[in-house]
């Protein structure tokens, strides 16, 4: 049942991302709701769960964008792995750590997405602009993480990682 809810929640996040979120753009960047949800789940349920939901969320984003299906999933997977690594090595009770993990995940996600788009022959922005967008997106996502963690964190049950 929880998994079904998770599928629906990620579907809603992906739809919101491609319909509402562009209207909230600041410096050309807009919030990545799927990435934010993925970091919250990784933070609370561990890297394994984060990577599973990264694949599903990424495929959904790929279905709404141009090009093949997979680059967003790949980029989100890297974000989940980094968040998972971060989670295991810091105090899980801290609120600043997930914010930092979100910024780091966003940077990695953006770099992998640009790299894979370039490899697959999809249009990519010039390097300077790409860095500017990545920087803006990482700040934006990190700023949204704290309220999201407080709201969504209560809905997603905390699961202890194996020691």
């Amino acid at each position: 049942m929880m998994r079904l809810l998770g599928f629906a929640a990620f579907l809603a996040a992906a739809l919101l991302q491609v319909t509402w979120a562009p209207g909230l753009a600041i410096w050309g960047a807009y919030p990545n709701l799927v990435l934010l949800m993925m970091v919250v789940i990784t933070w609370r349920n561990g890297a394994r769960a984060g990577m599973f939901w990264a694949c599903w969320g990424g495929v959904l984003l790929d279905l709404t964008g141009p090009g093949p299906i997979g680059p967003h999933a790949l980029a989100l997977l890297a974000g989940a792995y980094v968040s998972g690594f971060w989670t295991r090595n810091v105090d899980k009770g801290s609120l600043s750590q997930p914010v930092l993990a979100t910024a780091a995940s966003t940077v990695l996600y953006s770099l992998i997405l640009i790299g894979s788009d370039d490899t697959l022959g999809l249009p990519v922005p010039p390097l300077g602009l790409a860095f500017q967008l990545t920087f803006a997106a990482s700040i934006y996502n990190a700023a949204l993480m704290l309220p999201l963690l407080l709201v969504l964190g209560r809905a997603v049950p905390l699961r202890r990682q194996p020691a």
Partner: protein
């Protein structure tokens, strides 16, 4: 124990990465385009529904916003009105302007192009994908490469077309290049896309200078776009004596965040 957990996660990560890479490569193949189009089409009704809800909520919140900022907006509109009056006076005075704008705004009648109207059902999933998704596809005669416009002017080009949904690469894509001319001075140049604002490299002509406020209109050179589509308005001109071209910053006539209906020109084949 910690190390074993870490290596297990790394193993899972690598397996999933390999699976996603494989999926990317398979769905990139031309023979998979049909299946990919159907898969993308499956999510389109949900996107359309969400867009409709977004439009309703947007209208509702804009009413609240209007009440709170009525005075500021009123002043802003008055300024805009004065500016538009000035523009109308300029346009009336210039025959070239008039003709070009009439052609651009009514290009379907002028050139007899056949078009398909489509609703925008979604936008790019990230800040790097400067695309919009529309609810028309190959079943409606839309094909990759077709030119897309709105009532205001040029939007971009169809990049991918599924049976009932297409993805349009907008002019905000930095790789976009459009050959165009300025409505008043008649100067020719190339419009270069960008997410913030468009740029135009203008070929200089002795004694003629580009001016702020001129309309930028496609000239049909190169066969990429039909002649007569409004692209943008000149917002600023940068002249450098040492440069071989003048550069202009353009205000695009469209905004991807507010586009709701577009027209796909179905009978123009880009060369």
């Amino acid at each position: 124990m910690e190390r074993r957990t870490q290596s297990r996660h790394t193993g899972l990560f690598l397996v999933l990465c390999a699976a996603m890479l494989l999926l990317s490569m398979v769905t990139q193949q031309p023979w998979a385009a049909g299946a990919r189009g159907y898969a993308k089409g499956a999510i389109e009704p949900m996107e359309a529904g969400m867009m409709a809800v977004a439009a309703r909520v947007g209208a509702w919140t804009s009413v609240l916003g209007d009440i709170s900022s009525l005075r500021t907006q009123n002043q802003h509109l008055q300024d805009e009105n004065a500016s538009l009056r000035k523009q109308i006076a300029e346009l009336s005075a210039a025959g070239l302007d008039n003709q070009a704008l009439r052609q651009a705004l009514d290009f379907q009648r002028s050139y007899g192009h056949t078009m398909v109207a489509a609703a925008v059902v979604g936008r790019g999933p990230d800040s790097f994908s400067l695309t919009v998704a529309i609810d028309r596809g190959t079943a409606d005669g839309v094909r990759p490469g077709m030119v897309v416009a709105s009532g205001a002017g040029l939007v971009g080009r169809v990049r991918e077309a599924g049976p009932h949904v297409s993805i349009v690469q907008t002019l905000a894509d930095p790789q976009s290049r459009v050959s165009a001319f300025l409505s008043k001075s008649g100067l020719q140049g190339t419009v270069i896309g960008g997410p913030g604002s468009l740029e135009m490299q203008i070929d200089p002509r002795f004694g003629i200078a580009p001016a702020v406020g001129e309309w930028v209109i496609t000239n049909g050179v190169g066969g990429g776009y039909p002649r007569g589509l409004v692209v943008a308005q000149v917002a600023a001109v940068n002249h450098n004596d040492a440069a071989t071209v003048d550069e202009a910053v353009l205000a695009w006539v469209n905004d991807t965040t507010s586009l709701s209906v577009v027209l796909v020109i179905t009978d123009f084949t880009p060369s």
